[in-house]
Symmetry: D2
Subunit: 390 residues, 4 copies
């Protein structure tokens, strides 16, 4: 695991939890925690029970006993690390967004394609059983032909103008701003649930355009706080999309509405164990949106707890992601969302930024095609759930 | 009152209820219900206790005892009726949207301007005390500088593809589709709360593009079922905006979110006696969106019922609108939203349709400027509320 | 109309609105507003357009042109006024609770029974289309055998300890405290939806036991701020029940949950145009409570507005009550909820207070039996709704 | 870990996760999974990576390398296992309810008291940061003097009458029905937030009084499906309390409302990362309940994830419980909720069942006093949160 911030910890924990939660073919052990700060690496390695600590990521990934490299560093470092790991024959689990710019993402997708090792991008919200159930409903045709959608991801973690400048404000390290950090998740849901995006038009703004630096000065913020956009999908569907990192009071407001000819669904990550659905057949005096509480009927929820309403947490989403990666390594399923998918998300972000800069509609670069999403029924049919243990 | 459909009834009831609800200077009586169908006109006149019925709107508005003309007919008829009424020296209360196209709306606004009689457009949701309180918060600066917004109005009243073709599907009678019927309301809130819109880009689609006719055939639907857009306001703010009349399960989903540098608010017309607000000062362990239940602290709610939580209804919104009209006629306040405001809404719709047809950003025609909204505090300060009667 | 406080106004408005809203056989006119304060009576009579004002309620009800007497005075005055009106051959619409104590209520029910004029008690929340739909679901057996319920009515209108002493704090004028003002409503729903209550056990407390008087002193509060109870129904069902007038933040929290062998429902008056329902058949991956928005499918909602989600308000509930009264006077339906029903509610309150005073379970006095509720389908089947007018 | 059902698994996972989540003084290893079914024990031991499997719980707990015994078997077995473990000098983590009857619970509390090893009962919902924050608000006086409360725990896991008879239906194995399985949790919150209960009155019913057995017959259900009660606390507060295991559509509806002289709070376990709070100072036009999303400001949430809105899950609650146990073993804090607390809960259940059987108010056996709850501020002040790792 490269990087020992929160995401590094989350990865480490997920690699440990996966074996006791899922019927894995491969039981991962935790080899090395790597961080530029050697002391920090040692501390965290001790905390999570890793075998080794390192301040040299190249050395860390070189070990013969290392099969998987998890990358949780700033976006601008992903390309070098991921391609090195793939070249060294490792499976790679890279945090999102895949890269700080489209060229890097395309290079990474190409590196992954030609080496064919398991590769996955940390779009954790795609691991949510509620989202997987939404996909199931769409795939089964329960919502009919999908017509349009709304996509939002708002938070307020940078709403305070006194928050210091950081790598998140830099174009080279972060790439996009709200779009890369938050919007990428909303786009991942769009691509998963609806399909590829062909054209976009967008605005992007940075109302807090300078932030304090450690030396007492103020540095320019190089990426957007707020972005708004229209999307057109290759299937002809349309969507509004927006994202803000300065939306006071919003903490994890990843919100998706999808409307079809036979039904509608609504989802809010702030209540991520719920899914609201309304079917055409629900009209009449008893019609209305149903508040579905995810449970064992929505795999892989049941791997964690056998009762609906009990709820899984953020860490559990990470564990599901790692399970998918291990399944792919064992040849039991696709590595999803993979680098090609991550590149497709970055291609939409790239188009959004081009549109916001130059005005008007722009086409999304489709050099790298995202893979077809796995079928929820096929992917999770074989999973024994926790009810079996009661 | 011209037109005896639901809106005709709603106007008639509001004119009757206003005197017992508000301290009006003028107590309106109900003179004539007019409808092309003479029998229908008689029936409804009897039902609402109007003095006369008529199948000739020109005759109906000519009476010397007629001071106010309410127009609730299909949009394409508004111009002729409203200009005739204004020329005859009457105050006019015209349902929204002001007209079926921008040219008509501009002519109506000009007719209203030059005659200066009270004139008002039926944007009933602007009469909601929760919306008025939202405006108060914005005007007082409690949300800081407004940065961006989200605007939605979804319903499903045309989601059933077997619903027959009607005037609502015709360009000459309805003008726009979802945008005119629903979107106009969302835009009215945008203009009221944030200000004029300068530029837009949009898509518009009609997935149910033919509908059954009475003769067993099928006729083309001439306007949009779904529209999505980006807005830029003259103040620099941005917004996403979308509207659908085929959104299964949505009944009155007029939803507005406004984000400022010091606070955020969220509103949903399906729960229109509530307003959610979060202030910057609410961060910390007890922070979060407050669910405000409107009550006497949010005038003119208290004119109806003296307890928060008791709730006012749709008909009450109409009564507030009529009170505003009577106040304007008595010289006690502005007629708001007036024809110039209605024209400004139609100008945005016109721009949205031009953009959707031709692509890319278009400027909103600003020939007719919307008036400055009345100050909530000034407008409602003097109102005795129902608490005084307890 | 006796009494010119908010409820007097609300009655006056409802008598005026009913004719334009419903197909009434009798069109009521507003004769007299009566109040001890002659000036107040004149002011309000002028405001609502009543023909006369009076400071003598006996004179006011004596007129030959007076067919209906509406009583909106403090509870302790109901008996004398209502029996006088019944003796004078008038229909009576009396605000709830029926009386300040059970003996009075029984005398009133007896007076009503022997004279058989239309008589009705103002349990306005029984007029709510959402509540009527709940009754429909129960009557049709859609929830199976009803097993248990939860009943709550909380407000905070007396949470402020500096609020002055008033008639509401006096045993002779108000009778019970929270139970009479709020709890009576919750009990009215219990009797309507489930049936008669046979036994109760209760606690009652008055944490704010003294309140300031106008002369600068403090007077004891003679009735309860908070009551909690268990109910057993004659049908064997059980319920918890509680009510508080000092529950900070609650504005109109009349909350009912009903659980049956085949389904559940939940209702909250603070969102009274909604009803949440879950059916046994809703289990499975798409199961969950449905949020029903009341609309034309839930008569008599459609008499007010033809679209679900538009919402009716408190005043509209009063209009429905008056319509029921007029229907009863015209021999078209039962007067419901009548004085016998109101007495049954007071009998439960009486039992609750006896239990709270003396401890342990007590039987509810069933001298006066509540009438069988009208069937929602039968009562509202013939009503043309507003859709007919579109 | 004795028992390999879901709870056995949940304990095993929590013992593994605790070291990577919290700064533990002791890092637990997983020695033995014990189950009567030796094959099952081996399978689960393999799954969770335990060193050994056993079909003999006495042997399992005897090992010198065993310091902690976790008991997740049916309630009727808790006493024998827990006392044996305590006698063997082990710390004990026993699932709730502590025992199947009060006598057993008292014996266990006595055994724990005299041996003074760390002992804890699995009231997992007390580990919720939202509940801990509720306690903090109460302890700080932010809600003023607590007056009354409402306590509910409903589920529908036994709503299906075809669900087979099991140990949960038996008095010897389960003890109480809904009260033991669900109600115990609600009572644990009552004792934690408000204090000891002195008197109760209750009803209890079993509408599904026979259930199918494996041999094709039907056996009687020996405990209640539904219970309703009134509680009086030693501090004079009152509460309604009810619990059902046959409430269709409810999945984890542990709901608590607490009302004080200066504020109110509401909590629903189905949305357990949220807490609704209203303060007296929140009245005025911007007043209303705040929806607090738990986050790093509500320790120990931040140990799991550094962002509010991201949400923790059921498994994380178990991890917090284990951390508390380890802290107690290290002498760093109280073992809370301990066996005395668990016994106090069982004493309330015992009183409820006595009242339901014999009618009227009964006193709660207070032989064993529950400990004072730890101060949230004191307990969690020293915890580094995940933000430190970003």
């Amino acid at each position: 695991v490269i990087g020992t911030g929160f995401m590094g910890l989350a990865h480490a924990r997920a690699f440990q939890a996966v074996s006791t939660t899922f019927p894995v073919a491969l039981r991962p052990g935790l080899r090395t925690m790597a961080d530029l700060d050697a002391g920090r690496a040692r501390t965290v390695a001790g905390q999570v029970g890793a075998e080794r600590a390192s301040d040299d990521w190249r050395a860390a990934i070189a070990g013969d006993d290392v099969d998987i490299v998890a990358i949780t560093t700033p976006n601008g470092l992903h390309r070098e690390m991921a391609t090195a790991a793939l070249e060294a024959g490792k499976a790679v689990f890279c945090e999102k967004p895949l890269a700080a710019n489209l060229a890097d993402a395309q290079a990474m997708a190409e590196a992954a394609r030609t080496r064919a090792h398991a590769n996955q991008v940390g779009f954790n919200y795609l691991a949510n059983p509620a989202v997987i159930h939404a996909k199931r409903l769409i795939d089964r045709g329960d919502l009919g032909a999908i017509r349009n959608a709304r996509l939002v991801f708002d938070e307020d973690y940078m709403a305070d103008p006194t928050l210091p400048h950081s790598w998140r404000c830099r174009g080279d390290m972060a790439g996009a701003g709200a779009l890369g950090d938050l919007g990428a998740h909303a786009l991942s849901l769009a691509l998963y649930l609806i399909g590829p995006v062909s054209e976009v038009t967008a605005t992007a703004r940075t109302p807090i355009d300078r932030r304090p630096t450690r030396d007492g000065g103020r540095a320019p913020v190089e990426n957007e706080d707020i972005a708004d956009a229209l999307l057109v999908f290759t299937g002809g569907q349309t969507a509004t999309f927006s994202s803000s990192r300065v939306a006071l009071g919003r903490k994890c407001a990843l919100r998706v509405e999808v409307f079809g000819s036979d039904g509608s669904l609504a989802f809010d990550q702030e209540r991520f164990n719920e899914l609201e659905v309304c079917f055409r057949g629900d009209d009449g005096p008893n019609g209305g949106f149903r508040r579905i509480l995810t449970g064992p009927a929505h795999p892989p929820y049941g791997a964690f707890v056998p009762a609906a309403g009990a709820q899984i947490g953020f860490g559990d989403l990470k564990t599901i992601e790692v399970y998918r990666l291990l399944q792919a390594m064992a040849g039991r399923g696709p590595s999803y969302p993979d680098f090609a998918f991550g590149c497709a998300v970055d291609a939409v972000i790239d188009a959004l930024l081009r549109s916001a800069a130059g005005g008007d509609w722009v086409k999304v670069d489709d050099t790298v095609k995202p893979p077809a999403p796995p079928s929820p029924d096929a992917e999770w049919a074989a999973l024994p759930d926790a009810r079996a243990h009661q």
